[in-house]
Amino acid sequence: MSTVFAVELAWWQATAVKLAVVSLLVPAAALILGYVFLLKMMSHMQSRLGPMEAGPHGTLQLVADGIKFIQKEDLFPNNADRFVFKIAPIVVLVSTFLLWVVLPAGPDLVVEQLDPGIFYALAVSSLSVIGVLMAGWASANKYSLLGGLRAAGQLIAYELPMVLAVFGVVIQAETLDLQGIVSAQATQEIFGFGGLGNPFILTQAVGFLIFLAAVQAELTQPPFDMPVAESEIVGGYQVEYTGFRFLFFFMGEFATAFVFAGIASVLFLGGWSLPPFLMDLLGIDQGSNIMNLVGPAVLFLKIMFVSFLIFWVRFTYPRFREDQLQAFAWKVLIPLSLANIVVTGVMKVLL
């Protein structure tokens, strides 16, 4: 990070910068996704007029929403476990913060390059289950209890296909490190043709689809939004949350969508790197400093593409019933991802 700006930073200075960047990225990501997809794309898809009014082309709508949330009274239900109730949204948000730590955006642009990178990411992503369960239990409300238990069942069920879908990528890249996975995709060839590199979506399309489905479920978005189903259990574990605490859940959801889209693009779409022929054309080297500037932009475009897929499904599909949702995970996604692992392993050995 330091070399591209030609300044040498002490360890504590670099850490401070990284911390500041990560803590700013979470609200920024929530704002970007909220504006582009929740307001603009959704209202165009659904012929809605509302989100066009505040500011030019509706740009100030989210700011207005934020101010509205902050102004609201901080309420607690009568029988709530106050401490747990207070801390639950923060736990959910912390899991998002921890996910950002390993997401690489350039050859040097990563907060902490961990050898078991993807393993760490999948582990901390399931932290949010604890926050959701805490929120559901502490609210002392039957709807939120139902929502919390549904969420726990669902997040546990979909953790498995998510991990198994990543297996195929790890087998192909021969590393758990996210930077290693990016460079593996930039340098490998498919059937002797290396112009595009080997973005794993070409060979792991099944894995990509399973991963996206699992992400959808982890974010509790339609068609897997049983835990928050607002027309049945009126928001599930979020039902008693108002104002700023609700905003935390909201931000957590969107920032997690952003960072999961980032992980999906690192795993399957080649991350921050450009295809090799394009880099030859521009005369850039994979590890060169300029990639620290180009890389984030490339990654951002890929993230927006994956988020588009996530939100497109969200706005279109009705929701599963709880038993159908579990059956889909255990009877469809997990066998499919196991088969994917077997095929990938056999091909890896043979080719």
């Binding site: 898809m45 659904q46 012929s47 809605r48 039957k142 709807y143 139902l146 339609p222 068609p223 939004d225 049983m226 189903a229 607002e230 027309s231 049945e232 259990i233 009126v234 706005f315 279109t316 599909y317 009705p318 929701r319 599963f320 019933r321 709880e322 038993d323 159908q324």
Partner: protein, 390 residues
């Protein structure tokens, strides 16, 4: 333990353990969940007390009356013309259709017949309020199942129909347009062509919904085989309208008892579905909207000329007598039983609304389903709260 030998001991322990395991698996503490009075799935202030075992419903009891407005009593102190302003608020989504049976009952008592043109326009507006009502159902059911897009499509296209109703009556929700002996006004210029264009849009909307929602695997998995009401049970509970026709009973007052209205003059079909599940109720309503657009198109083509108002006394006094008239409203059979002792106001007015009877099947149909299915079934039975509490 001395009386038992070792083999008996083992058998006893095993049986105890098995029993304990069975208890663990199949017995849980029940939970009472109040769905409502304020809940998105109840379309207003209606409450369902649901006894749950896990997420399975043991019993479900509707509690009504949170917004009872005493219409039947209010009718006794108002003149016939004033009553129309009340009763189009009963089913607020298809409001013009509420006025028609009341006016027909009053006309029957006074032995007045509205001229044909008035009857045709009445029928057209009746069908338009049916479309405005059921189009919203088609979107709303998607919302209950978690798909938000169909709802907004429904609101968009309902607007066109309401605009057309507004162009004639001046009101979008509360037309107050029907009079004893005819209608208040004639159609405005150019209205016929505009309405035909709108009907085309509604048919496109039906195709969209068919692709977007009915063709969706999740939607089908959520609705097929859920909340089955066999035809006989439906009749026993007094279900009417699309809920009855979705159970395979071929019964439609528009065809079977049209009264003076213009339905027999045009070609159309009553749709039924043999399954009786939530999907069938949705399917029947979708077909009904399509059929209604076709009815309106035909009625517009053959609209007779002539006056829109019969000769009526300036001050309406209804002679002594009783009359019962019911029509096939968007939600089912809606009827008015008027007892008159002569004079300006009815002596007694009994309102039979469709939703009140349609909801009576809820405790029967809810046993053993899951909480999400409760929402599906409530959505597919389709009630308007004003139609339950009058």
């Amino acid at each position: 333990m001395t009386t038992l030998d070792r083999r008996d001991q083992i058998a006893w322990i095993t049986s105890q353990a098995a029993e304990a395991r069975v208890n663990l698996e199949f017995e849980s503490e029940g939970m009472t969940l109040n769905i409502g009075p304020q809940h998105p799935a109840t379309h207003g202030t209606l409450r369902f007390v649901v006894q749950l075992d896990g997420e399975q419903v043991v019993a479900c009891e509707p509690v009504m009356g949170y917004m009872h407005r005493g219409y039947e009593k209010l009718c006794e102190v108002r003149t016939y013309l004033q009553i129309t302003t009340l009763i189009n608020r009963i089913d607020w989504l298809g409001s013009f259709a509420n006025e028609v049976p009341f006016i027909l009952a009053a006309e029957k008592l006074m032995e007045i017949e509205a001229p044909p043109r008035a009857q045709w326009i009445r029928t057209i507006l009746f069908e338009m309020s049916r479309i405005a009502n059921i189009v919203l159902f088609l979107g709303e059911m998607g919302l209950q199942l978690g798909a938000i897009t169909p709802t907004f499509f429904a609101f968009r296209d309902r607007e066109f129909v309401l605009n057309q109703i507004e162009a004639v009556t001046g009101g979008r929700f509360h037309p107050n347009f029907d009079r004893i002996g005819g209608l208040k006004d004639d159609l405005p210029k150019g209205w016929v062509e505009d309405t035909k264009a709108v009907m085309k849009k509604i048919r496109v909307f039906c195709d969209e919904i068919e692709e977007l929602l009915m063709g969706n695997e999740i939607f089908q998995a959520r609705t097929r085989g859920i909340g089955i009401i066999p035809g006989q049970v439906a009749q026993q509970f007094g279900l009417t309208g699309a809920n009855l026709r979705a159970s395979g009973v071929d019964w439609d007052l528009r065809r079977d008892a049209p009264g003076p209205l213009a339905w027999p003059e045009v070609e159309w079909k009553v749709w039924t579905h043999p399954d009786g599940d939530s999907f069938a109720r949705y399917w029947v309503r979708l077909q009904e909207v399509r059929e209604s657009t076709l009815i309106i198109d035909q009625l517009l083509d053959g609209l007779p000329a002539g006056p829109i108002m019969a000769k009526v006394p300036r001050i309406i006094k209804v002679p002594e007598g009783e009359a019962w008239v019911s029509t096939e409203n968007p939600l089912g059979e809606m009827g008015y039983y008027i007892i008159s002792k002569g004079g300006l106001e009815p002596f007694r007015c009994k309102i039979r609304s469709a939703s009140f009877s349609n909801v009576s099947v809820v405790p029967w149909v809810m046993r053993g389903v899951y909480v999400p299915d409760v929402i599906t079934i409530l959505a597919s039975l389709y009630f308007i709260l004003g139609d339950i509490d009058r």
